[in-house]
Amino acid sequence: MSSSSATEVPSFDVAKGWTLSPEVAIRPEKFGALAYHYGNRRLVFLKSPELVTLVEALSKFPSVTEALHANLAPERHASYARALARLADSEVLVAR
């Protein structure tokens, strides 16, 4: 279910705009959501409702940094930026 992804890690630039991949479907769950990528057939867990809200809001902001500021308290920005980077790594997020 969680295969490794050592190859082709996209660089995750928080100054740029990112969005949910058009190949990904999100299924809300109590803990957060499941994200399924129809292309690479990987199932990824979004482990908190805040992360789901953030992911869904990304496309409305010109950069990740601005999306973080609008959605979360400053002390949580670093950990959520890391979570987003992992989602970019799994191709759940794509650069705009």
Binding site: S2, E29, K30, F31, L34, Y38, S48, L51, A83
Partner: protein, 372 residues
Amino acid sequence: MPADLSLRDRFKQGLDAPICLTWELTYACNLACIHCLSSSGRRDPRELTTAEAKRIIDEMVEMQIFYVNIGGGEPMVRTDFFELLDYASSQNVGVKFSTNGTRITAENAKYLAGLGYLDIQISLDGADRATNDAIRGEGSYDAALQAMEHLKNANFGEFKISVVITRQNAGQLDDFRALADRFGAQLRLTRLRPSGRGVDTWEELHPTAQQQRDLYGWLVNHPDTLTGDSFFHLNALGDPIDGLNLCGAGRVVCLIDPIGDVYACPFVIHDEFLAGNVRAPGGFAKVWKTSELFQELREPNSAGACASCGSYDACQGGCMAAKFFTGLPLDGPDPECVLGHGETALKAQPVQLLRRPSGDHSKPIPVALVAN
């Protein structure tokens, strides 16, 4: 971020829809494997019609079940098999189907290769003809390899070779691996359960304690091997094998059988684990969300006899089905507990308490009439 452990705890409380839904399309099968988890052979006259099957696929779309594991019986013997495959595909429901390969031809392999959203698992239980055919029946090895040739020639891509680990094939892991490499396939190893006809054969087929330890070591060294999350009972031996590492029965896993009955998992086709039927009002979604059995399975369970064992967090007490069909209490050790607690518990049983599966679709054994 909550840690992974808390995610596992969330999974134990159940999800809004399953992650791993197995759907057995028919009890009909042209083979008679001695360990068949669903005692398949004869078609059941009550099996779902094409329209009812399509309704299940519609429900998967509504519930956002992204993919389904189709099996049987032999699913390809259903005359509407390709129609259902097309229907799922058109609704963006991914299909992974398990087959013995006998119905894969050069022609339909090309067709299957053209369907975008499809995985195929060819079952094989021996790396050589003798080992495989002793379990799956004469000719089944050649048929499976023929199917693999067809898929390879059709450029299907990476299909899966699915092996149930037994005492007889546990020493052939490297050979299975070589076979998979030869076909550009992925190797999938799963655990034998004492389910279906396996109730009668588990005793002689299940791997020895030493074989289990060797298997664990092999899996750790070959992390790209698929396991269907079925070996989490081995995690008491060391670092966990990749996977969810919990019994997902009724929580993230369930089975829809050919007549629409919903069971907690594919390995417990027994009245005690029957949650409902998809033909009832509310369909599958209602069974998944509200059945009493599934609500119960999502309650916190006690570690029971395993509470004092330091490895409980690693192995979670093992497989519910394996315990149930060997007559062990569900809150005790797995019969194949790697620390030996299961073996002790089995020996302590006053009589062997083998439970029988509720249904049996095995073909009748031909009786030779002797004239006297």
